[in-house]
Symmetry: C2
Subunit: 395 residues, 2 copies
């Protein structure tokens, strides 16, 4: 059990991020087959539909759609109904619209996490979570993640018992970035119960659950919360388009005035034009067919990646088999350093993100995050076979 | 000289804001002539032009305009040139695009101001500045503002000498909200010199300078800064439209990595679509004619307000005579309580914001902020005459 507490200063988090940016810049040459960036599949972004929705809103609502204003009611209603469909009790007064999930993380963290206090996160996790806790001056107490089953709930309980008591838990239960795994329903129930039992707020960061291409996404942790300790953070960035800059927080109604005050101190409000345009898109019923076609493409690409890994890496690595999201996590022999592999891969015109870039703890250097969402099955096959050749040479 | 330091908790700032919202809600009935809200003149928001720019961007750039991405180069270039025209040395690497000026305030404050530390602000100022300092857990050391000449620079020096030393200064030099005054060039030089001499960073919050309808806007404080201590914060909210949610920070290049890291921890980045669309609007040369026509309307309305005040309030009040911006500040006899006046005004179907809502210190209860930007000259004349009648009755 890991109950160490790390002091991840904002400089460290910044370095990690700038490290990530340097890595991604290296992968940007047009002749490189890059499995690095975690962008949603570009050709599926509904450019024409959004253009039409924006035009409709500007014609219908005129200057009101470009002014300051309250949260757009129909968008709040859609979110409320969406949460209810996912078995999370939710009233309009519990919804705060944000600029994507990152702002949701920043606002809820502002409420619970102060300088020097402890937050529990997965030991391998999205760099934005590391940045937001570092931005609060907090220390991290990471819990182990299993590549096949995600965050360890026994370790979560251990971490919650540790001294000093954590003030916040942040988990990514669905199609985790970078692992690609979802935690089981049983673990979701446990997570909700632990937050309640130890009286520690839990942020459920959910940018990916609707990118589900095998079976059904399980209910969120928030659906199992009966104590008001789980703060659901959602986003339209991956399910629609990042540049709408829209997400949301679901929180107990009595906390909303504080959350709203913090949000206003940060940047007042989200764009009325974007709120109305995405509201229009949702009201036209365009999201469901869009997700169907997006996920069908992702399914094809993920399967192509699984086949290629099976064909070329069977004896060299283990990897996750996600039913959704954007990423596969590959664990190589411990002798392989992902940074060396990356350098050699760039020479061979193929790219990925070395997994240690997501690690809060030391180690994880023998890992890769592969994104399957932006490349054709043929490109994926070629990329994986090149990577396998390099790994073989390194062994 | 006021060198008191106030501990304005986030609860207080929140109450002030929610107070403000309650006040503005009270003024929203359609039969009320409201001089309350500080929204730019709605009929001047260039809805059709922006619609065309957005459509052009979506057709030209497709999914790239809806993805994550780096800052949009042409927008950064425009800002760089704009700053140079205003005599502020500025390179593209010094510009961070934000969601309006409020986010600029939040990000720069995050760099310099920690829990319990002291910030210097004007004693009557924009509530967003009060929220951002409260959001950092900072204490305020307010400096007096003169209704006719703005912030007192001797008091600023006094405040900078106080114990503990302040970590940040925030000033609104142009068409101040709520006062409507601009500080003189001499004071701007002094402010820049004081920041340098006492080695305290100064945020120059400039949402209004381009709303100048009499003469020329003076050079910004940043134009007189030779020590890299002045952080210019600009915004497109008032000069174009609030819902584009775009503003910018100009900062020394060596600090940009930290500013970018803080910004990413808050909400990653500003909308690529909005950056490109506003970039398109600016490149088409549409801003200048837009500002000419906006300011011509504001000039007419401000003059109507000045005439009405002259006619109806000459013996009842003194007021500011702004050459730009959105607001006139009215000081009444000390016996008049602005909150009582507000209640009576609502009964008579006229509204304003009681000035004490903007005050960091006690007092200022005999004041009103009147917005001239959204009402016709006839409505303004009628509103001021009604207010004058109520004030007469109260004397």
């Amino acid at each position: 059990m890991n109950t160490n507490t790390l002091n991840l200063g904002s400089e460290v988090a910044h370095l990690k991020r700038s490290d990530m940016r340097k890595l991604i810049n290296l992968t940007a040459a047009p002749d490189i087959i890059s499995l690095a960036a975690g962008l949603p599949s570009g050709e599926h972004i509904p450019v024409d539909e959004l253009k039409d929705c924006i035009a409709t809103v500007l014609e219908r609502d005129g200057a009101r759609s470009l002014q300051y204003g309250p949260q757009f009611g129909p968008l709040v209603s859609w979110i409320t109904e969406y949460m209810k469909r996912r078995s999370v009790p939710c009233e309009p007064g519990q919804v705060l619209i944000t600029n994507g999930a990152q702002q949701g993380l920043a606002i809820v963290s502002r409420l619970f996490l102060n300088e020097g206090e402890v937050a529990v996160t997965e030991e391998v996790t999205f760099t934005g979570i590391q940045q937001v806790t570092a931005g609060r001056g907090a220390r991290l107490r990471p819990i182990p993640t299993h590549a096949q089953s995600g965050a360890d709930m026994d370790a979560l309980e251990e971490a919650l018992r540790g001294d000093p008591r954590p003030k916040l838990i942040i988990l990514v239960p669905d199609f985790h970035n970078p692992l690609g795994v979802s935690i089981s329903e049983e673990k979701r129930v446990q997570a909700a119960n632990l937050a309640a039992e130890y009286d520690v707020p839990l942020i459920e960061d959910d940018p990916y659950s609707q990118l589900c291409f095998e079976g059904e996404a399980p209910l969120p942790i928030a659906a199992h919360d009966t104590s008001g300790k789980v703060f659901f953070v959602g986003s339209f960035s991956k399910m629609l388009a990042p540049a709408v800059r829209l997400g949301w927080i679901v929180a107990p109604e009595e906390l909303m005035p504080m959350l709203v005050a913090f949000r206003e101190s940060l940047d007042l409000e989200s764009s009325a034009l974007m709120q109305r345009s995405v509201g229009e898109y949702l009201q036209r019923g365009l999201l469901e067919p869009h997700l169907d076609s997006l996920n069908a493409t992702h399914r094809k690409r993920c399967r192509a990646m699984q086949s290629a890994l099976e064909e070329h890496m069977k004896d060299l690595a283990t990897w996750t088999k996600p039913g959704g999201g954007l990423f596969v996590w590959v664990e190589l022999d411990e002798s392989i350093d992902g940074r060396d592999l990356f350098t050699r891969a760039i020479e061979k015109k193929v790219a990925f993100i070395p997994g240690d870039a997501f690690a809060v703890v030391e180690g994880h250097r023998n890992t890769m995050r592969l994104s399957f969402c932006n490349k054709s099955p043929d490109q994926i096959e070629e990329a994986v076979s090149r990577l396998a050749r390099i790994v073989s040479e390194m062994m």
